[in-house]
Amino acid sequence: MPTPTLLQSIAITLIQCVLVVLFVFVVVPLTVFAERKVLGHIQQRLGSTRVASGHIGVTGWMNRGMWKWGRIPVLSYWRGIPGLLADVLKLILKEDIIPAKADKFVFFIAPALSMVSAVVVFAAISFVPGTFFVFPSWFPGLAGLPVSGGIADINVGLLWILGVASVGVYGIVLAGWASNSKYPLLGGLRSAAQMVSYEVPLAISLLAPVVLTGSLNFGEMAQRMATGTSAWGLVPQVFGFLIYLTCGFAETNRLPFDMPEAENELVAGFHTEYSGMKFGFFYLAEYINMTVVSALAAGFFLGGSWLLPFGLQGLVNKLLPAGAWIAGPHAIFFVAKIIFLLFTYIWVRGTIPRYRYDQVMSVAWKYLIPLALVNLLLAAFVRCAV
């Protein structure tokens, strides 16, 4: 394998960035669509099936067309997709109102902060260990060069992920403050308290994999968690997964911990005054954050790019013949786990009602932090004893 020159390695990194951004911006709109459909199905509805509601004009023509395609079983599920397109069009074309007494610069920078901190985390996530694919020999300029499974192979990746992800709270707090209005301010303050509280059990529950694997690199941790833990490692992994998922719901401000954006108390929480594409950025950031939390859970607890979760793959691999397809890592397993966890997000949203604000806080400080500490202790025992 030839060693790449500086220009070539820059080109390869750019291609990786484009691939990851493509992945994010394909998964996020599909999650928005799936949210409509899955919530509908849970409530015995059909979810989104048409654009606008007319029977005349352009939308009427589209609706009649979609009704005809709907007779075919598989196509019937995708009838709501043009509605997604209409949503994007609406967000881009809508008037962008800035309140007269708002702090203009902070008001402008807040959605960008939450969006950037959500996207940048993907740099440290490796989708598959080692090389993702090798450029074929006919490819101009990059023939025979490997593309690795993640953009950056950071050896303190977990610290970096947690650090960058927690910058996102600034976006929400600054948005609430800069709007110069009561409801956004309350939403921002609540979200500050909530997200700072839930950062603690989240970090402690992620310490269990660190203790079990002895590494902070995302790819290395995923590999050792999937294939290198003993049978006793199952217990802290399962408990850690549940604690991490609960904290992840709270950290991304999803229901049932939907405190900053409490529709029934605070109009729309921190983004009450936002409209147009600035609101769209908050909307996107929420879904990208969901994908990030799902990717971390999939990597650390559900066995990353290996098939079986909770370190079972390492136990099963001893029984499998060497070189079996199921035994090896594949990016498709990782993506499938992310998608399943995104479905779980929507599923939980459709099931559990909202918590009260003081209940949210007591869940974090009275239950999740002690449980996470006990889980960390368990992980340490497993690490020392086995």
Partner: protein, 167 residues
């Protein structure tokens, strides 16, 4: 101790997730594929909407088997109507013993669909049918009547293309 364990083990959440998951799977696998779907909504403009049997729609005059108007102008409906939307003009017709309504005006814009008129009628000559698409573009179109007025009370509403006309 029992309460503490129930707090720790999320069994109630698991039960709830099982129920919603079951509902999701049922709707997901039966939508558009079975005669009787599991979802409870109907795709209204394309599929004819069915309303409950006791639904109170627009007032309709009934005719008997010979095509004669059943109404005998007893004015019970006009008297009981709380918003006074019904106006009847009594008249006579050749070869008919009972009085005959020359005009039966019904102003739908003030009607509250209480069905008192139908209950008070001793001859079963009016009903509220199952039509629910009653919007019009002009205020004048809300004054319904017998032949000659913009909306004929023997025919379905001109804008109601998708709902069931009558039972």
């Amino acid at each position: 101790m029992n309460k503490f364990l129930r707090t720790l083990i999320p069994s109630d959440i698991a039960k709830g997730l099982a129920i919603t998951g079951k509902h999701f799977c049922k709707v997901f696998f039966t939508a558009n594929r079975r005669k009787v779907p599991f979802h409870i909504v109907s795709e209204y403009p394309e599929v004819v909407a069915k309303v409950q049997p006791r639904y109170r729609g627009r007032l309709t005059l009934l005719k008997d088997e010979q095509g004669e108007i059943k109404c005998v102008c007893c004015l019970a409906c006009e008297k009981i109507c709380p918003t006074q939307v019904i106006t009847i003009e009594k008249g006579k017709k050749e070869g008919r013993k009972m009085p005959y309504p020359v005009r039966y005006d019904f102003e739908m814009e003030r009607c509250i669909f209480c069905e008192f008129c139908v209950e008070s009628c001793g001859f079963d000559s009016i009903i509220l049918n199952h039509q629910f698409e009653l919007a019009t573009y002009n205020r004048e179109d809300f004054s319904l009547g017998m032949e000659g007025l913009s909306q004929n009370m023997f025919e379905p509403s001109p804008v109601g293309k998708f709902s069931v006309a009558d039972d």
